[in-house]
Symmetry: C2
Subunit: 150 residues, 2 copies
DNA sequence: GGTGAAATGCTATTAAC
DNA sequence: GTTAATAGCATTTCACC
């Protein structure tokens, strides 16, 4: 389904999504049109979900980073809550996880007042029984790159 | 320093980093060369840190997602520990944050055995006094896109 | 200092094999 | 998967405001 050449292509695109197909072709030893077809296929089958620019949050006046931990009651409605959370602006990550605090939500916003608004709108969801918010001093690494061979 | 056109360009590139300069130019009402210059400048000034493909972890046999919470002693060495953590393969996020568990580490790997290895190598760092690991059922949203106007 | 217009060598994309 | 063909694109240069 996915061969070594595909893995090479994915590695290159994770490193720099704007690499031209011609350049990728050179690096993997195929023609540009072969690479083109492979990338289209990877996109169509959902292996590649998209391409994004990594932007400095400070440049967009979005310097507050926080994590919110949720408890639900009843937990049975986790799916619905997850979907509702993903709709809230400023929420970058919604993770359903093990433990009593069964949701982790990563939030980015302009200032602590905006954070308050977001946390309040999370608390507005019926099924959410409590939240605990932790503010980040600093992100020392943030990446979506999937490690290969790990 | 950054004007409305730049914000528009950043929004487009965050949505799809492979959008051509010509297409961006059409959308923001400028010429391709003007857009080209602006993007180069945004890259040079560090506003744009890079471009990455968003890949489905399962396709690369990397289906385990976990979060590890750390306590340090002494906390004074946070900077050093942060740098050491970013070096470990499979660690996607390293966040220095408020609270007793002052580091959050996001890990992606193949299976729970690989996770054990990673958590053990975190525990091997002298300054790390304890770790608490939580495994994710599922990521319902994962994004690096900076919200604009929030 | 950023912009638009023209020039050129590459690139994406398609079609035929 | 390749090759060949074409339309479109990235990138440079330069005159302009």
């Amino acid at each position: 389904m996915i061969d070594d050449i595909d893995v090479q292509i994915l590695t290159i695109l994770q490193e720099n999504a704007r690499t031209s197909n011609a350049e990728i072709a050179r690096q993997v030893g195929k023609t540009a049109s072969a690479v083109f077809e492979r990338i289209k296929k990877l996109e169509k089958t959902g292996v590649v979900k998209g391409y994004t620019a990594v932007v400095d949050p400070a440049a967009l006046e979005c310097s507050v980073l926080a994590y919110v931990f949720l408890r639900l009651s009843p937990h049975r409605l986790a799916r619905t809550v997850g979907a509702q959370l993903t709709e809230i602006a400023g929420i970058q990550e919604v993770i359903h996880m093990t433990g009593e605090e069964c949701f982790l939500v990563k939030v980015r916003c302009k200032d602590t007042e905006a954070l308050e608004r977001i946390v309040m709108s999370i608390n507005d969801i019926d099924t959410v029984s409590s939240t605990r918010t932790v503010i980040a001093f600093r992100a020392m690494r943030e990446s979506l790159v999937i490690p290969v061979g790990g």
